[in-house]
């Protein structure tokens, strides 16, 4: 399972894409918001590339995607899943 940490209102975890690229997943809002979950990848030079999770579904393995979307629902969703506890 991913190690999530709370940073302000966001939850952040290190992730590895299926192509081996590493980045951070940042959860900021509910699933209806396209920018509610993003992947931040180290770009060339000092620039970082930010992609909504919805646009890089194919680059995330199914288990990782389940973890991300379930955590997003636990934090920001209305379905009633238990809220996460952070260390």
């Amino acid at each position: 399972m991913l190690e999530w940490t709370k940073q302000g209102v966001a939850a952040v975890a290190s992730v590895e894409l299926t192509n081996g690229q590493r980045g951070r997943c940042v959860l900021l809002g509910p699933r209806e918001n396209p920018k509610g979950a993003v992947i931040v990848l180290a770009g060339t030079g000092s620039a970082a590339e930010t992609k909504p999770v919805q646009s890089c579904v194919d680059d995330l393995g199914p288990a990782l995607l389940v973890e991300i979307l379930c955590m997003q629902e636990r934090m920001f969703g209305a379905s009633g899943l238990p809220a996460p506890e952070f260390a």
């Binding site: 399972m1 919805q54 393995g61 288990a63 379930c70 809220a83």
Partner: protein, 283 residues
């Protein structure tokens, strides 16, 4: 370390598999008998007041959503048909079994039933079983744990502790402490109850597909493992702080890729409102 068993010595020396309630066994016989009719089934349900009550409460729950008040068992049987009634009877029987289990396990199992329905819809198993059967698959997938809680409480607790300290999935810790895991034990109980072979093997293989000899049944076991994983990722594992993992082969076997995940979870999240209602039916 505790005594080690294999499944046969465990069943011979320690665990007595509970019988399916006689009324549910009789319903199973009737449903397998081409000369029987729905009135016969309704009569058997009516003779078991607890089963009749649970059947009516389930039929009238928002989860089943029949759209009108059903006040008699005969009406319920006529409206819902054989397959649904059979699954209602199994579900009611399982809820009785869960009266021995923990609240967390019941919550996890009901969630797994809902998750299994959502997974089924988008998996390669679609058509192998119907959605009501899928709910029973989820409800029963950890039934072996109830037997461990009842017959081997200390060993079960040791396995949980080992799972936490060594960051092992529970089923691997159970194998180390007891020699048998809950999936294998659950499979034996389901076989004893005379439920379908595909259900028994799906339960046996939900953590490890190799436990299912017939490769044609592995997709169902994989789908069940995925439903279990979704519950863990949703913060509702079978035991608090459980180590939640899934073998990557499950996704391939169930025919589910990342593309289908958002739709599976949409369906799952939309059904979570039924969980409390279904859990209340258990008591």
């Amino acid at each position: 370390m505790s005594a080690q068993f294999n499944i046969d010595s465990l069943l011979e020396e320690v665990v007595t598999l509970p019988s399916l309630p006689s009324s549910v066994s009789r319903i199973t016989e009737l449903l397998n008998d081409p000369s029987s009719n729905l009135s016969d089934v309704a009569y058997v349900i009516q003779t078991d007041p607890a089963l009749a009550l649970k059947t009516l409460r389930l039929v009238n729950s928002a989860y089943y959503g029949v759209g009108q008040r059903v006040n008699t068992v005969e009406h319920a049987v006529t409206m819902l048909g054989i397959k649904v009634i059979r699954n209602l009877a199994y579900t009611a029987a399982v809820f009785e079994t869960f009266e021995r289990g923990s609240g967390e396990l019941l919550h996890h199992s009901v969630m797994a039933g809902i998750a299994m329905r959502a997974v089924l819809e988008h998996s390669a198993c679609r058509g192998m079983i119907d959605p009501d059967e899928a709910f029973v698959y989820g409800l029963l997938h950890d039934v072996g744990k109830i037997l461990f809680y009842e017959f081997l409480p200390k060993e079960s607790e040791s396995a949980t502790l080992m799972s936490h300290t060594r960051k092992l999935p529970t089923y691997l810790a159970e194998r180390e402490v007891i020699g048998v895991d809950h999936a294998e034990l659950g499979c034996r109980l389901i076989q004893k109850w005379g439920l379908s072979d595909q259900l028994a093997w799906a339960v046996a293989g939900h953590h490890q597909l190799d436990a299912v000899e017939d490769v044609n049944l592995r997709p169902l076991a994989a789908a069940l493992g995925i439903a279990d994983y979704i519950c863990g990722a949703s913060g509702v594992p079978a035991t608090p702080r459980a180590i939640v993992q899934i073998d990557s082969r499950h996704w391939t076997a169930a025919g589910i890729s990342s593309k289908q995940i958002p739709a599976v979870l949409d369906r799952f999240f939309a059904s979570i409102g039924f969980v409390d209602e279904l859990m209340r039916l258990a008591v």
